[in-house]
Amino acid sequence: MATSRKVTLLSSDGESFEVEQSVAVESITIKDSIEEGSAGNPIPVPKVNSKILAKVIEYCKKHVESAKAEDRVDDEDLVAWDADFVKVDQATLFDLIRAANFLNIKSLLDLTCQTVADMIKGKTPEEKRKTFTIRNDFTPEEEEEVRRENQWAFE
């Protein structure tokens, strides 16, 4: 049966991960390359190291399993599981975002982006710059002008 077929994914640092095909195709990128027949076996996943790839696989496995269960109760459990999943340091979170983007896993991308959005909320611009290492290229006057203009645009 196709669903119990396994594929091997190869991280950028050379580690192999064997997963069910149904889990691997949560990533549209991988799904497309399997369907096109262009994926070798193992399927190389550049840019994603083993630590991050392991986490991505963990995420996909959990979501594929939950979709099978079809029980409404699992929805709440899944939300709680997702919340725990993203309790990681910022570097890992950002790496997960890049991996989800590259591998085209929409639900993981939304989850991680929402987490970052939550980090942005409630911070002053200066705090945001610090958290996200954004270089401030405004003079105080320019910043004030932007702030004023924004009030109109974003009221």
């Binding site: 950002f94 942005i120 611009p125 290492t133 954004i134 405004f138 974003f154």
Partner: protein, 454 residues
């Protein structure tokens, strides 16, 4: 929490669409705040096609087709603003207030439109539909779209009413180009606060103008003057406007760039137009039905449907008050105690009796007949050999607000006349009945799982 400083994976290194994905979870004020951090973000945060589209998509992409609004040409910042307001329309409303009692309206002898209305998302518009019980003797419900609210490419509201409700299919193919070809009537939709809506005919050319088609007015003075206009207009001939006139009105309305004068002069012009007798549609007021569904702590709350005494399907609204009581009325009947209109049932204390139930209660329930839709296949009058649903809770109710005076002799009969029960079933629905007869009226959710037609 002090995050580690990791220069290689900072926000600015994300591809733009990832940055937009992150920003799409923020509210506009938060984005305004964020755009102050750096010059490169100012440009991003100002970009309509990217950022504002992402915001619209995040909030409403699953409910409507963002790219179709305004013929696909609309500025997304305007769309966001409008949809934020229009979002509160979605759900159930009931018509309120008396219709105009002028002679012509009485003479037109059309039955009043159904009191229950539901607003839904369409692909590029919001649609208001009248909801009425189907007359076929089942629990079925008929939904007739009558109001379409959309936006012109310039971001102006373009709202139309289809008075005959025949445009059901039309609504699906609705586009701003095709309106000139039918009998649709342009209307203004105005909020008074968040739960009161007025839909009135837009008499066009030089008439009312608002930036977004929404005139938020909280003063009661405004409300009075609207009603005055409603009854002040003469209802003359009801011929349909020629297409050319209609499309001119639309062109003016959609391309309007500046408000047309003071509100007093606008109202004056409007009255003049009305006196010319061109009004084709009476204004309608709607009040939002705020608590439409049961909750765990309020299991009887919301909109229900049931076969009433006359074996006709009717709609009911059960509301809880602040002191633990509940009242049930047919939708469309005035909601307050002093209106002189008896409730369907009420109780001052919604405390259920738990099982095990007394012998007397069980006999009372088992001996009753459930009123059922008259099935065509099963041509028995309302008497189906159904297994009674297991009753999980019982509640004492009354059908009249008249005070019960226990000491007076001869009141026992009256008590029992108005006294009744609610039997709650395991699936969350319930039935009610009174001691004066032997029936149970079973109520079902009007929109189980959010789905009206099923």
């Amino acid at each position: 929490m002090e995050p580690d400083f990791v220069p290689t994976t900072s926000f600015v290194d994300f591809p733009e669409d990832v940055q937009l994905c992150i920003l799409s979870f923020l509210t506009p004020p938060e984005i305004a705040n964020f755009s102050c951090t750096s010059k490169r973000f100012v440009a991003l945060c100002r970009s309509d096609a990217k950022l504002w589209h992402a915001l619209c998509d995040r909030r409403w992409g699953s409910k409507t087709q963002i790219r179709k609004w305004g013929d696909g040409k609309i500025c997304y910042r305007l769309l966001y603003k409008t949809l934020s307001e229009w979002e509160s329309l979605i759900g159930f409303w009931r018509r309120s207030g008396q219709r105009s009692t002028s002679a012509a309206a009485a003479a037109s002898a059309a039955p009043p439109p159904p009191p229950l209305v539901v607003f839904d998302w369409g692909p590029s518009f919001v649609a208001g539909s009248r909801v009425s019980p189907s007359q076929d003797g089942t629990y079925g419900v008929v939904k007739s779209p009558f109001l379409w609210m959309s936006l012109s490419p310039g971001g102006e509201p373009v709202n139309f009413v289809d008075p005959d409700g025949k445009g059901g299919e039309f609504g699906a193919n609705y586009s701003v180009d095709s309106i000139g070809k039918t009998d649709l009537i342009p209307v203004d939709v105005n909020f008074m606060g968040c739960t009161h809506l007025v839909v009135e005919e837009n008499m066009g050319l030089g008439g009312n103008s608002h930036r977004n088609g929404f005139r938020r007015s909280s003063s009661s003075a405004n409300l009075c003057s609207d009603e005055e206009e409603a009854s002040g207009g003469e209802n003359g001939t009801f011929g349909s406007l020629p297409d050319r006139y209609m499309s001119e009105m639309y062109q003016h309305f959609a391309n309007r760039t500046s408000p047309g004068g003071s509100s007093a002069s606008r109202r004056q012009k409007k009255r003049e137009k009305e006196r010319q007798g061109k009004r084709r549609w009476e204004p309608e007021h709607f009040v939002k039905i705020v608590d439409c569904s049961p909750t765990p702590s309020r299991p009887l709350q919301g909109l229900w449907k049931g076969i009433g005494d006359c074996t006709k399907l009717e709609f009911y609204l059960v509301t809880y008050d602040e002191i633990g009581g509940i009242a049930c009325r047919r939708v469309g009947e005035p909601a307050d105690r002093f209106s002189g209109c008896a409730p369907v049932f009420w109780t001052s204390k919604a405390t259920f009796i738990e099982p095990p139930f007394s012998q007397e209660e069980m006999i009372m329930y088992d001996s009753r007949m459930h009123l059922h839709p008259i099935d065509e296949e099963n041509s028995m009058f309302g008497e189906l050999p159904m297994e009674n649903e297991p009753v999980t809770h019982i509640l004492y109710i009354n059908s009249s607000y008249d005070l019960l005076i226990p000491d007076l002799a001869g009141t026992t009969a009256t008590d029992r006349h108005n006294e009744g029960r609610i039997w709650q079933y395991r699936d969350g629905t319930f039935g009610y009945g009174f001691l004066r007869d032997n029936f149970i009226i079973d109520l079902k959710h009007i929109a189980p799982n959010g789905c009206l037609l099923h």
